[in-house]
Subunit: 333 residues, 2 copies
């Protein structure tokens, strides 16, 4: 339905030389969705791009300093969680009951260790908790009040639920509620949730030691109910990383990303099908996801430093930094 | 570490003829773990085998009557949830706080629709709720109190938390708590949770229309804390089904099954690697899972009616019914 926007850049000429010469790289996204040109004013666009740029710089600085891919991913995501612009941490969308419920996950491509947390309401930086679950517990996934009890014992920063609230998101929530009510009155299905189901932040990084990592953090879908969880905290759906294949963070209509195990499927096509990350991503996003009726996008990073930022929605907040190359973008270009 | 127990049975001589001639089949498991011979008395063994046999018969009757693979999977799992013998529904293990918290998921291989629920404390049959999430909501996964609110609106059977409690599980819980305390006093890590982290029920079925389905239900790990969720409710980890490759339900040390996306990985090796389900399962269970330090097992069913029941633990409660063939087993044999 939309033409592909795709950057695929193989940096290393030979597979053998790849790992030694692979450039440290960070790729990020800030959500995909109905981002047609003109949706944002030039001032708003600049604000988004400035924050994406800042997140890239912060993550890249970690890598340049010899830090790990995991640290770079966490650093970039924390910056986007703390920004009110993105649907993660501060600025998260509201549930049907007017609350913010946050999910995140992270995975280490070197060890395949992973951590995830869902249904958080007081943890300032969900990606930090996902990492603590990975590194400080024998578990991979924790949910709800139990996850927050663990976070408290880990000494993580807690905030009042009102910290996550921004006036823009609150107005969007009220609008969505109103649209839902109007649709109910007219006995038709509301299209409001569809328009508001996007927005998630994520990062994938490759460090100087040749290790990959990926992470994802989200406030989920506006008007979500019943403890709904999307793909962001699901290893294999929203996040996957394996040094043997690739690192992926996804954003979009989470239900489809879970059913298709999008992040794992891209890496599996690389691992077992011998595809490039570009070919694997094209198949998953433009064939499988498209045919199933889902939409959204992914960032994908390979051990040789090649990367893809691809989506089948109108746009995706995204950026990459690798050596002298730095790009941020919102729309199809 | 243990010799493989494996049944692989290709029923159709040619791939082309496979779908038309594939026999309706149901495969089930009731958990894998440290099931050395002699762990159970002959009377206990008979009780387990009788319930496995009953679940096979109930699921197979659905298939023989022209029912769907989904219905067969749900029917067999409900029977095991209702039995106090297995760690799912009634007879679930206890959390660290002495509660029963239940998780389940189900997937339709025809449509790749899926449903999952986690952190349930009052829903009598978690697998029914997983199916309702799949069929009666736009979501794939719901957790905690929100999931139970949805279940209530769907008119599902609710029970008091005490319904799930059995005296055997309560004694195991008290023993595990005591072992944990002793270990803490001696400042060493307790091995109690390791011994009690198994037990999950699951089923995979192939119906007369050639459709696959899989489902999994569990009470999780004894002494689990902090809202820990294992692989059972994670699509791609504990459950996966796709008519194009295979249907899988897993049981074992859930953290490893999530990291390795075990259910999806087996189907991905079939789909992209051109492997048989037997070869794919051997690689995932005996190479990847084994090397990572995890243990447990899977049941796998292919569109041609071939199936595998394999594990790297000492035993796995399991059974299959296909035409005149019916088998139930516990130990390696």
């Amino acid at each position: 339905m939309f033409r592909t926007f795709l950057i695929a850049c193989a940096m290393a000429p030979s597979a053998l030389a790849a790992e030694a010469s692979a450039p440290v790289t960070i790729v990020i996204h800030g959500g995909a969705g109905a981002l047609e040109k003109g949706r944002y004013t030039p001032t708003e666009e600049e604000a988004y791009k400035a924050t994406l740029s800042e997140a890239l710089d912060a993550g890249y600085a970690v890598l340049e300093g010899g830090g790990s891919a995991l640290d770079a991913v966490e650093t970039a995501i924390i910056l986007m969680e703390d920004s009110p612009l993105f649907n993660a941490g501060r600025g998260a969308v509201f549930t049907h009951e007017g609350k913010n419920e946050l999910d995140a996950s992270i995975m280490d491509g070197r060890t395949k260790a992973a951590g995830a947390a869902a249904g958080l309401t007081h943890v300032k930086n969900p990606i930090r908790l996902a990492r603590a679950v990975m590194e400080k517990s024998p578990h991979v996934m924790m949910i709800g009040a139990g996850a927050e009890e663990f976070a408290r014992r880990q000494g993580m920063d807690f905030v009042k639920p009102s910290y996550f609230r921004t006036e823009l998101r609150w107005r969007q929530y009220k609008d969505a509620l109103k649209k839902e009510k109007e649709a109910a009155d007219e006995e038709k299905e509301s299209d409001a949730p569809h328009d508001f189901k996007y927005g998630t932040v994520g990062a994938a990084a490759l460090d100087a030691a040749g290790n990959l990592a990926a992470g994802t953090s989200t406030g989920g879908m506006t008007l979500k109910r019943y403890g709904r969880v999307g793909d962001a905290p699901i290893i294999g759906a929203g996040t996957f990383a394996d040094n043997e294949s690739c690192a992926v963070s996804a954003t979009g209509w989470g239900e489809y990303f879970i059913r298709l195990t999008v992040a794992r499927d891209i890496c599996a096509q690389v691992e077992y099908g011998g595809k490039s990350i570009a070919a694997a991503t094209t198949d998953v996003i433009h064939n499988r996801l498209q045919q199933s009726g889902g939409d959204g996008g992914v960032i994908v990073l390979a051990p040789d430093g090649s990367f893809v930022m691809d989506f089948n929605s109108a746009g995706m907040f995204r950026g990459v930094k690798q050596g002298d190359r730095k790009e941020v973008a919102i729309y199809r270009e």
